[in-house]
Amino acid sequence: MKAFRIKISSWTSSFRYPNLISGFQPTLEVPPVSTVMGLINAASGRYWENREITLGYYFSFKIKTVDLETIYQIKANDKNYPEATVKPNVIQREFLYDCKLFLYLTNEDLIAAFRQPAYQLLLGRSGDLAGIESIEKVELNEVNNARFAGQVVPFNGNYLAGQIQALPKYFSNTIPRRNLGTEPYSVISCYNPVQSPLTGYRPDLEEFDSDIFLHKFEV
């Protein structure tokens, strides 16, 4: 299968657990599909909908560590409007350092967006600025009993080891945002590869030791 590989890097990344709010904010070791879809939308400068998406990715990082971060807390007043004053608080945020995302897309319209991104690309939160290192054509060769690392794989029906989390595929273009396609995923770190009975795709341009799981869904 012909595809394009977009190599994106950032100094730092932090991918929050969708429903966890705590004084210690852990990070997932792989971005959810919805984060990658957000990246595609940021590059495109528009919200993609009503089309079929095929994407795969591999995410790696060098280290995971913790930093202190000031957050600003806003309370609501009696009328449920935000109060004018904000209260700072210090929390511990876990983050990933020296991150790489290898994004595989088959749709040329989406690739074009990455040649001249409309908005800044972020791998995680607003401070996690990312840059595009390269865009290359690759051949994805189908392989049986694929070995996966550095990606999320839908849990139901596949049952791969990894950290199991309920993650969305996408968010709606409404106010407020609505999570779409939430289901359990195996979050498979780049450091804990999993041998599977699944079909995967092996890129001919390898900079890592993992096959690629292709996510196919409609947005």
Binding site: P18, F24, Q73, K75, G162, Q163, R177, G181, P184
Partner: protein
């Protein structure tokens, strides 16, 4: 979507999707609550879901005195305004409202189950670690919390019954294998029911292991002994321990992960042919600051602390609560190579364990390990302890890659030729591909070679207690 075995429960309420009370979602809290519902519904098939809610609510209020603050903040049970029976009444009123749909709701996609259904507000009062509704910038567009289906909220109400106390916080174990997640919940619910039956239950079940790492490996021990498929075969689960409190102003959560390769390594170590060596190694490393100097007695299986007039004996039930650096390191993906080396200087330890560790956890090539083993056999070939001591000293003294290479040249390559052996002990390919490939860490090769040399000496029974082969500052806990 694959159909689950139907829930064995009186299905009184038509508004509830009973399958979603137990279907795994990926959310650790909702899943634990679902497994608890599944277990309790088997135990009490005459009760419908509201009667089960009533059952656990009465336990929370009457037996546990409402002490579930580590889960819910200002809930109908934990808020101080409600006293005694009112806590129960208000809780049941809330869940009746969810079921009859008189509680405020909207249509949308549940944040946990992903279904499009009626959603109800989820905050710190009815869900775990989801943020306070007071601080409105914690959610999209100043929403007060997350929106959850009634099934998710019902499941979460059962979470306290499916979790254990550990170090003053709450522990929940989740696995990629449903049977393991269920086993944890089943043990916890059974412990609760047992203690309630005895009149001893005054709060969330307490773990008898006091550290997250000990709790995970203790649980794996249980799983290996109770669920045959995890002791052998190809099933390789991962485990995640959630250690949290949703209490007051300081909600905190820490995650500990045991990946599948670490599970495989541990499972292998617990097999009959390795378990004696492995358990002696691990148990000897338990440590507690209040019992400094305690030594593990491998015969009695207890720790002994010699005091001025008497010897204090520490039973397994007590010392298994102590810190265990080996478990900690395995869980934190830190290397235990140096610990094994320190241990090997005095104790026999099957080199196969080291080999499996290096291959499965560290990712060393099996050819590298085979070459190191061959080199070790060559270095102690004469059964002459004095020569072996000199080689160990020289190998121990290698402080950088070039010194290690010089050692191999002087102690292996050159003598191999001098002895007239036809084949090289280290070929160019061995050297380039296996011993010193790009990215390899020379000290790792040195340490594994030292471990292999020590094991050769142990096998040949050349080591004795009076031999001083241990460098300074490498004391072990035995």
């Amino acid at each position: 979507m694959k159909k689950l075995k139907p829930l064995n429960m009186k299905q009184t309420y038509k508004t509830i999707d009973y399958e979603w009370l137990i279907r795994p979602t990926g959310d650790p809290f909702a899943d634990a609550g679902g497994f608890a519902i599944e277990y309790l519904s088997k135990r009490f098939p005459e009760k419908d879901i509201l009667e089960l809610i009533d059952y656990v609510t009465k336990i929370y209020v009457e037996k546990w005195k409402g002490k579930i603050n580590a889960f819910f903040l200002n809930s109908k049970i934990t808020q101080p305004a409600f006293k005694g029976p009112k806590k129960i009444d208000e809780t049941l009123k809330y869940f009746k409202g969810l079921i009859s749909e008189t509680e405020l709701s909207e249509i949308g996609y549940c944040r946990i189950t992903g279904r499009e259904t009626k959603l109800f507000p989820g905050g710190r009062d009815n869900s775990v670690m989801t943020g306070s509704g007071t601080l409105i910038n914690f959610h999209h567009f100043f929403q007060k919390g997350i929106a959850l289906s009634r099934e998710a909220l019902i499941r979460i109400h059962f979470v306290p019954f499916a979790c254990q106390q550990l170090q003053g916080k709450i522990m929940l174990l989740q696995s990629s294998e449903k049977e393991l997640s269920k086993l944890f919940v089943r043990h916890t619910v059974e412990q609760n029911l047992h203690e309630i039956g005895l009149g001893l239950s005054d709060g969330v079940a307490k773990s008898n292991l006091n550290k997250p790492a000990n709790a995970i490996f203790g649980f794996v021990d249980q799983a290996l002994s109770q669920l045959a498929k995890f002791g052998e075969g190809h099933v390789l689960p991962s485990l995640t321990l959630y250690h949290f409190t949703n209490f007051g102003a300081t909600p905190e959560i820490q995650l500990y992960q045991l990946p599948a390769n670490a599970f495989l390594f541990y499972r292998t170590c617990m097999q009959a042919r390795f378990s004696e060596d492995w358990q002696l190694f691990v148990r000897s490393h338990y440590f507690d600051g209040k019992h400094k100097g305690a030594r593990y007695n491998s015969v009695s299986g207890k720790f002994e602390l010699v005091k001025s007039k008497e010897t204090e004996i520490v039973e397994p039930g007590e010392y298994k609560k102590w810190t265990n650096p080996i478990y900690d390191k395995l869980l934190n993906a830190e290397n235990i190579r140096r610990d094994i080396l320190r241990w090997s200087r005095k104790h026999p330890f099957k080199f196969e364990i080291v080999s499996i560790y290096q291959q499965n956890i560290i990712g060393m090539k099996k050819e590298t390990i085979a070459k190191i083993k061959e080199l070790a056999a060559f270095l102690v070939r004469e059964e002459d302890i004095e020569k072996a001591k000199k080689r160990i000293k020289a190998l121990d003294g290698a402080k950088n890659a070039s010194e290690l290479r010089r050692f191999l040249l002087k102690q292996a390559i050159s003598p191999n030729y001098q002895e007239g052996n036809k084949n090289p002990i280290i070929s160019v390919n061995d050297y380039v591909d296996y011993l010193f490939p790009d990215g390899s860490y020379w000290a790792e090769i040195r340490d594994i070679l030292l471990i292999a040399v020590y094991q050769e000496l142990h096998e040949k029974d050349l080591l004795s207690d009076d031999l001083e082969l241990e460098p300074e500052n490498e004391a072990i806990n035995e």
